[in-house]
């Protein structure tokens, strides 16, 4: 638990960050450090230089304009828990509250969580369910990565090693829509044994117009349960219908560890998906 030697830099602008990343192939970005610092201490990573972006100006803002919400990459979980700009989206505070503990929430960042792409992290499910977009910048300029393309493998996001995530952007909320996040915490780490973010929008008659179900903690990569979503459209969101739609989650390819077997994770995925959908439907009506 003692890191190897490294250099430390704290650039003032995104451009400097990009230049540093380009010049130092073994550089690693440090934001909240909630994943990186333990990795360094255990020497799972031995980067030559840490580039601290936690205080990089402009990345710590949450803003809302004409329904489009933008969240800076270095906004902490704690800030999202308390954000006034996100008062209309209780999903964020709900998710933030379930992350780690107070100390982790005050340091860890949304951007760090997404880019690190831990298969049991919470934000990836929310990001996927809301069809967010990630704006990033690299040596070739800015680009946008949709959530559906963002998580490419275990612990691997679509962000290139020389790119910097700037912010995520969310489309305006639909009418009669609601979203919720339900999670069972791993007792030691607080990570999700299973976490499900669901968003539903209803038509005038209260039937499901669109459903998004994103699951984390189960597969090596967080995913959208496309089959379930398709089966939900056009129906009511009562327990019976949900039970039928969730009978099979086609994408399941569960991990297993000391805290939950593959079998248990699969069962939890169904239960928590139902709970998240019911909570989302309730908010859609309200």
């Amino acid at each position: 638990m003692i890191p190897a030697e490294f250099d430390y830099r704290r650039p003032d602008t995104a451009a400097e960050v990009i230049a540093l990343l380009a010049a130092q192939p073994d550089a690693k970005l440090l934001a909240g450090g909630m994943s990186l610092i333990p990795a360094l201490k255990h020497r799972l990573l031995q980067p030559g230089v840490l580039v601290d972006i936690a205080r990089l100006p402009g990345l710590d803002q949450v803003s809302e304009r004409r329904g489009r919400v933008r969240i800076g990459a270095s906004v902490t979980h704690g800030a999202l828990e308390r954000s006034r700009e996100l008062a209309e989206l209780p999903l964020f505070a709900e998710t933030a509250r379930l992350i780690g503990d107070v100390q982790v929430r005050n340091r860890g960042t949304l951007g760090g969580s997404l880019v690190h792409a831990d298969p049991a992290a919470d934000w990836p499910a929310v990001f996927l369910a809301l069809d967010g977009e990630a704006r990033c910048v690299g040596p070739k300029g800015k680009r946008t990565i949709p959530a559906s393309d963002f998580f490419v493998g275990m612990l691997t996001s679509a962000l290139a090693p020389d790119e910097l995530l700037l912010e995520i952007e969310l489309r305006p909320q639909r009418k009669r829509a609601g979203a919720a996040y339900c999670k069972l915490r791993q007792p030691a780490s607080g990570f999700a044994l299973v976490g499900v973010a669901a968003e539903v929008s209803l038509d005038r008659r209260g039937r499901c117009e669109r459903a998004a179900v994103a699951i984390t903690g189960v597969n090596p990569v967080p995913f959208r349960a496309a089959g379930v979503e398709a089966r939900l459209v056009g129906g009511g969101l009562d327990a019976v219908t949900l039970g039928r739609a969730l009978g099979e989650i086609e994408e399941l390819d569960p991990m297993a560890d000391l805290h939950a077997s593959a079998e248990y994770r699969c069962d939890l995925a169904r239960v928590y998906a139902r709970r998240a959908l019911l909570a989302a439907a309730e908010r859609a009506v309200a």
């Binding site: 003692i2 190897a4 030697e5 255990h42 503990d101 069972l184 030691a188 000391l258 928590y272």
Partner: protein, 788 residues
């Protein structure tokens, strides 16, 4: 005149906390000595095997690396690692400070790297080229007892550390009871291995002064005086040449009671290099190579009468000692034997104890040390018996309690209980919990298909260790405690206690005792501890003995000082001590006034001043005002409690919610209720942690899968409701304070209380008892198998 409030019994906040919570405490790892080097251990990556080579060539080439030591360097220089728990029957093995050819557990120290700082030391440790030929390994204690199983020590015929058969008379009594019984019940009861996880990991700084020929060792320890003696023995030094200091100690829970190989080794290195050296454990080292706790498996049979009377208990206890017998590790399970009958009239008890070696880290004391295992077992017997006989578990306990007028009570386990009012504590808990209301609500919830359970545990434990006849000669000390009281000329007071605290709050509670004795403010009392050159030889903190034994020693010293102060005051007031009154602040002469009508009186501070100025010599007395006292208890104390809790289990996921927890504890008289409540809350949660989520898990090859706090689940505040505390007070006659000890009491009953509730919640499903920890998946499987 304003009456000074009495300190004893007051809820005074811990005087230690302002410095600790602001980061101003001085822990061992905070020490920076001139020229100090830092160390890193090279540890075995295998649980069993033979060392083929340890090549430190590359490590020594690194800039800043001073030395790399292996067993070869120690040969003939040091003795084995300290062990104070060898019984006559123990099959003894040597635990070398560094592995001598064979490795027997994961993380066993192979080499020590000394460098300019800890970063260089760690870099170099990774450069030490180690080759180990892996050997067969045994992790499971029952498997270790099978024939033809891998042996931890080839020099021994099997993996038994010690086997203690039941006493023949006890066995005869038990057999008679079983023959007369209406029925019997058998259970397998498991207390899984857990890690103590103190907030502060272990740390050592050793500083050999060549000129003075003196070794000073700072250790995060519960027992500085024992550490001093053991280090002196290990290094072959006179104890006059060793000083041990325990500065701030950030928790121990028993795992800082052993005197460790690392502490002896650092001492040797400092002497060898003539430079100060430091080692501070990492959290993974702490989880892997600081002693673990519990690790017992019981096969128990109970004989009972139809009316619920428990007649006798018999069976076998298999206890994991790990790969070597730690300082007290081998002796811990004997407390389980002693406390097996709990607070019940059990006529006869006969157990075989088998301590087993396995290729795992050693076990030793952990909050409760053997008694939670006993309480867990007897309370589980009670619950199962209640279920079998269809008697309410509360009623069944009432029928078996030792009556209040039966004390002192000699148990079939071999203990003599001082005092107890078990039913009074239970009644208070039932009342607070609204037991009948809760049962009615439970019936209602059950009719809706909800899994609501109510748990109960009534328990007692052995504390205030204790008469020195219980101590082991290898400890080189009894189990009394020391205190010194020194009154300064101003009347301010310095207290030195041998009961070196590791977070309990002695600086507050002991100051309260002095404050009341002399009528000085708490802030005018300083409590000094943990320095063997300053504090008279003492024993340490373990077994909930700080106040019971250390506090009593202090009380005795305070009384001695007060007697001398009275003699001085009497002399100066021209009277005799028997005519003096002390009102808490001043001495005055009963019924006498001076010529001008004023009362003849002297404050304690005036007496203190006079004692030092000494312009009016008192016949037969020396100047000064101080005393040393040692308290050797006549017997141990037996605090007790009654806990109740309510849980609900989510049928779909197995998630467990603790909805209520009520604890009524009785530790006799209390000096500071706030401190006592803190001890109880922490203790209760630690026990609940074992029941809920804590477990040390080795895989079959002896690799540790719970080596970080990402996998070893310590209990968190968010897992619990507000714990409701209440108490009864049944003082002990065994010490003048009437105190029984509180450090471990919460832990004794809470794990079982929760498991009792879990099993009650599952009762409608008719399933077998669930083992600890009740992880969500474990419950989910039970529910699924029961078709719930």
């Amino acid at each position: 005149m304003v009456l000074r409030p009495v300190s004893i019994g007051a809820r005074i906040k811990r005087r230690e906390d302002p410095r600790l919570i602001r980061g101003l405490g001085l822990y061992t790892d905070d020490l920076r000595l001139h020229g100090m080097l830092e160390c890193a251990f090279v540890r075995s990556e295998y649980a069993a095997g033979r060392i083929v080579k340890i090549d430190s060539t590359r490590a020594l080439q690194r800039r800043g690396v001073v030395a790399v030591y292996t067993y070869d360097d120690l040969r003939g220089e040091v003795a084995r690692a300290p062990c104070a728990a060898r019984m006559d029957e123990t099959r003894d093995v040597e635990h070398p400070l560094l592995a001598d050819g064979a490795v027997r557990y994961l993380g066993q120290p192979l080499a020590l790297v000394v460098a300019q700082d800890r970063y260089l030391a760690r870099d170099a440790a990774l450069d030490v080229d180690v080759e180990i030929e892996p050997g067969p390994c045994v992790v499971d204690p029952l498997a270790a007892l099978e024939p033809d199983t891998p042996r931890v020590y080839r020099s021994l015929p099997d993996n038994v550390n010690v086997r203690i058969p039941p006493e023949p008379e006890a066995l005869a009594a038990v057999e008679k009871a079983f023959a007369e019984a209406d029925g019997t019940l058998s259970l397998r009861i498991v207390n899984q291995r857990v890690a103590p996880v103190p907030l502060e990991c272990r740390a050592v700084v050793a500083d050999w002064q060549e000129g003075a020929q003196k070794l000073t060792v700072w250790i995060s320890t519960q027992v500085p005086h024992q550490a001093k003696q053991q280090i002196a023995i290990c290094l072959g030094l006179s104890e006059l040449g060793v000083r041990v200091i325990a500065p701030e100690v950030g928790g121990g829970f028993g795992c800082k009671l052993p005197v460790y190989a690392e502490e002896c080794l650092l001492s040797w290195v400092s002497r060898r290099l003539r430079l100060p050296v430091k080692w501070a454990e990492t959290r993974t080292e702490n989880l892997m190579n600081t002693t673990h706790g519990r690790g017992q498996l019981h096969d128990v049979e109970a004989a009972y009468r139809r009316n619920g009377e428990l007649l006798a208990l018999r069976g076998r206890i298999v206890a994991e000692v790990g790969a070597y017998a730690s300082y007290l590790g081998g002796a811990i399970p004997t407390f389980t034997l002693l406390m097996y009958p709990g607070c019940y009239r059990v006529g006869a008890c006969a157990f075989e104890l088998v301590n087993v070696y396995t290729n795992t880290m050693a076990t030793d004391a952990y909050r409760g040390a053997g008694r939670p295992e006993a309480a867990y077992a007897i309370e589980m017997v009670m619950d199962e018996l209640a279920r079998k006989l269809g008697i309410d578990p509360v009623e069944l306990r009432r029928r078996n309690f030792i009556a209040p007028d039966a004390f002192p009570y000699q148990t079939a386990g071999g203990a003599t209980y001082d005092t107890g009012e078990y039913e009074a504590a239970l009644d208070k808990a039932l009342d607070r919990f609204d037991y009948s209301g809760a049962r009615a609500a439970q019936a209602e919830a059950r009719s809706q298909g909800r899994l609501v359970g109510i748990g109960i545990a009534t328990f007692t434990e052995i504390c205030g260790l204790g008469p020195s006849s219980n101590a082991n000669p290898l400890q080189r000390t009894g189990t009394w405690e020391s205190a010194q009281v020194r009154v300064e000329p101003t009347g301010n007071v310095t207290i030195m206690t041998g009961a070196s605290p590791h977070g309990q709050g002695q600086e507050t509670a002991f100051a309260q005792l002095a404050s009341d004795a002399f009528g000085v403010g708490i802030d005018d009392v300083r409590v000094v501890h943990g320095d063997t050159d300053v504090v008279p030889h003492g024993v340490g903190t373990f077994g909930s003995r700080g106040l019971v034994v250390g506090g009593t020693a202090l009380h005795m010293a305070l009384e001695k000082v007060k007697a001398k102060a009275a003699a001085i005051a009497a002399h100066l007031l021209d009277t005799t001590p028997d005519r003096l009154r002390f009102d808490g602040e001043s001495f005055s002469v009963a019924g006498a006034a001076t010529d001008d009508g004023a009362e003849r009186r002297m404050t304690f501070r005036e007496v203190a001043s006079a004692a030092h100025l000494w312009n009016v010599p008192v016949p037969g007395q020396e100047p000064g005002l101080e005393a040393v006292a040692r308290f050797e208890p006549e017997g141990t104390t037996f605090p007790f409690g009654a806990h109740l809790c309510q849980v609900e289990i989510d049928r779909e996921t197995g998630q467990l919610e603790i909805q209520r927890y009520v604890a009524v504890d009785d530790c006799g008289n209390i000096v500071n209720p706030l401190l006592a409540e803190g001890q109880r809350l922490g203790g209760i949660v630690q026990g609940l942690g074992q029941a809920l989520c804590e477990q040390v898990v080795y895989d079959e090859t002896g690799q540790l899968t719970t080596a970080t706090l990402m996998d070893y689940a310590v209990p968190k505040a968010t897992m619990f409701p507000e714990i409701e505390l209440d108490s009864t007070c049944t003082p002990t006659p065994l010490n003048p304070l009437g105190a029984k000890g509180i450090g471990e009491l919460g832990t004794i009953g809470s794990a079982r209380c929760l498991m009792s509730a879990v099993h009650d919640a599952l009762a409608p499903l008719g399933v077998a008892p669930v083992e600890m920890p009740v992880t969500t998946e474990r419950l989910w499987r039970v529910l699924r198998e029961a078709g719930a």
